[in-house]
């Protein structure tokens, strides 16, 4: 294998790994948008809270309280992060989205979630302090080597977990009755209501699923984040870019765009330097909006564009 080819393959693998992490976060945003036409700015903080839940599971609950081995404790941390994320989703739906839904306004829920975001960040700052926390996944130290390509067991785990989560979500949406009802609500809330579907419960379910994904994303991101109460904010701007590049509310588009942004990021780090990542991603976003505002996979039409 030539040097260049090895480098390209190596960076593509790194990019897919990063991309899977982003997809976990961006998918929740897109799900909520698809069903509710709302943006949840506190989504970033759900990622942070998930990461902190994972931290305490790995360092305290799993290892000290339950006496699990490191690997089992890390796997358990994904479950606790998922649960914590789901609980937050339930809470923000009850507090913000459900009461504001009637008014059919796109701006106020957005501002209300910005308020929730400020509240959550500063609550965590009070609870955990500003000094970064660090925990490592026991899978990060195991390196797998194929020829000249290296990757860690952690990256395999991340790709496996996120693709199973995506596959499970897809199967749920496509083949279960509740999934079908959800798609009906996304398409036309009123008509779905007339068919005997309770849109309120399904919207709550969507927000819970989306937030659970964000929490679990936090557990997966935890080992690579500088874990402070503001950690999620660094990921969320990219998640927004991904959601737009993929086409708001479009799951397929979000997955493709997430992987694309991950790969672009890996190559930007290689060739231009890590300081320029956000710049490159957002210039891509604006170019994309100028050329093809419906997103990579066009589905929703004139409505927003």
């Amino acid at each position: 294998m030539t040097d260049l080819l090895a480098l390209v393959v190596q960076q593509s693998i790194n990019g897919i790994y990063l991309g899977c992490l982003y997809v976990m976060v961006a998918l929740g945003l897109t799900l909520i948008y698809g069903v509710l036409n709302q943006i949840n700015f506190a989504h970033a903080d759900f990622v942070t809270v998930g990461a902190f839940a994972a931290f305490f599971t790995v360092t305290r609950l799993g290892t000290k309280v339950l006496g699990l081995p490191d690997t089992a404790a890390y796997l358990l941390s994904m479950v606790t992060a998922l649960g914590v994320g789901a609980a937050l989703g339930l809470a923000i739906n009850a507090a913000v989205f459900a009461p504001l839904r009637e008014r059919g306004d796109e701006l106020r829920p957005l501002i209300a979630t910005i308020g929730v975001s400020v509240l959550l960040e500063n609550f965590q700052l009070w609870l955990f302090g500003p000094i970064p926390y660090q925990f490592d996944s026991p899978f990060s130290s195991e390196t797998i080597r194929i020829g000249r390509i290296f990757f860690t067991a952690q990256s395999v785990l991340v790709v496996a977990v996120s693709s199973s989560a995506i596959a499970a979500l897809y199967l749920f949406m496509k083949f279960t009755f509740v999934g079908k009802a959800l798609r009906a609500v996304a398409q036309d809330r009123e008509t779905a209501g007339l068919m005997g579907i309770d849109p309120n419960r399904l919207i709550a379910l969507t927000i819970v699923i989306a937030s659970a994904l964000a929490g679990m994303g936090g557990a997966l991101l935890g080992p690579v984040l500088v874990l402070t109460p503001f950690a999620g904010a660094t990921v969320i701007v990219k998640a927004f870019a991904i959601v737009i590049i993929g086409g708001f509310g479009n799951m397929q588009g979000t997955i493709i765009a997430g992987l694309l942004v991950g790969i672009i990021e890996a190559f930007t780090v290689q060739y231009l330097g890590s300081g320029l990542i956000d710049l490159v991603v957002f210039v891509l976003l604006l170019v994309m909006l100028a050329l093809r505002p419906t997103g990579l996979v066009a589905e929703r039409k004139e409505e927003n564009v």
């Binding site: 009461p99 910005i114 009070w126 100028a290």
Partner: protein, 308 residues
């Protein structure tokens, strides 16, 4: 003497008296900040409140005003006022660039595009070290007038002037045009309104005013770092407009004053301060959807006339 003239006169009097009511240097500094925030809230309200464009990128124009004016003064030795004029122009032009996107995008798409605009501006400030000094920042920036009181009178005077200008603008047929675009762009177009042109006008003017506020910021704090223009700044401006009352003239002014002083008043709560701030923001949106202005009108039983 008309009611509007009387109100203006009262505002001038209050502004003139304020530095004598709040005498410590600390509170006088907060006053300057408040006047700047009023300018920023007015600028965003023109785009968000009157033209109905979801703009999360206003911090970019504030940044451009601050950096262009400072660099022209510090590196090229320009006079402050000439540099400010150029900075306002630069911010306005950038506003037109964002308007090019606003012409094609609506709602949340525009929100994220404008957010991206602010992120790019921030990243350029961080990375273009040759010109902006990056995260190290620019130090030792002098304000255009020596005393804090002088600076307050200057910025507050400009804010008053801008208020009167925008107030007259939104009462004119131009204001009706902008509101028509806000309410229904397609109906507006069918009445012969050129939506693209007027959106560009609102974005350009809004950006120029934010840039103007930016000219005074570096001299006031003495240093200039990119972190002062984080996207959080855009959210803060938006919060001011919403909390006060979007699409009204006095609303954003009240919002800017409340949200500048609220964190200061809450300072004794220490680390709970920003938690209370976040909670307050959420509660205002939940329970006072029209902001303080609408809540007040409901309280005193005045019918809400139009959305002026």
């Amino acid at each position: 003497m008309s009611a509007r003239f009387a109100a203006l006169l009262a505002a001038v009097l209050v502004v003139a008296m304020l530095p004598w009511l709040l005498q410590t240097p600390y509170w006088r500094g907060i006053l300057v900040l408040c006047a700047m925030n009023v300018l920023l809230a007015l600028s965003l309200n023109l785009v968000l409140g009157y033209t109905g464009q979801l703009n999360l990128g206003q911090s970019a124009f504030f940044a451009i005003g601050a950096y262009v004016s400072t660099i022209l003064v510090k590196t090229y030795g320009w006079n402050f006022w000439a540099a400010s004029l150029a900075a306002v122009g630069a911010a306005g032009l950038l506003g037109l660039a964002l308007a090019a996107f606003a012409v094609r995008l609506r709602g949340h798409y525009l929100a994220i595009a404008s957010l991206g605009f602010a992120v790019i501006t921030y990243q350029v400030l961080v990375n273009w070290e040759k010109v902006t000094e990056g995260v190290r920042g620019i130090y030792g920036i002098l304000p255009p007038v020596g005393s804090t009181i002088g600076l307050f009178y200057l910025v507050a005077g400009i804010a008053l002037l801008v208020y009167v200008l925008i107030d007259n603008l939104v009462r004119s047929p131009v204001g009706d045009t902008l509101r028509a675009i806000r309410e229904d762009e397609i109906s507006a177009a069918s009445l012969g309104i050129n939506g693209a042109l007027w959106k560009a006008f609102a974005f350009g003017l809004g950006a120029a005013i934010a840039g103007l506020a930016g000219c005074f910021y570096p001299g006031f704090v003495g240093t200039l770092v990119p972190d002062a223009f984080n996207i959080i700044e855009s959210f803060t401006m938006m919060a001011m407009v919403i909390v006060g009352g979007m699409g009204t003239m006095i609303g954003p002014v009240i919002g800017a004053i409340v949200l500048t002083f609220l964190p200061e008043v809450l300072r004794e709560f220490g680390e709970f301060r920003l938690m209370i701030y976040g909670l307050a923001l959420t509660l205002v949106v939940l329970f006072m959807p029209g902001g303080i202005v609408q809540a007040w009108r409901t309280l005193v039983g005045k019918p809400i006339t139009g959305n002026r």
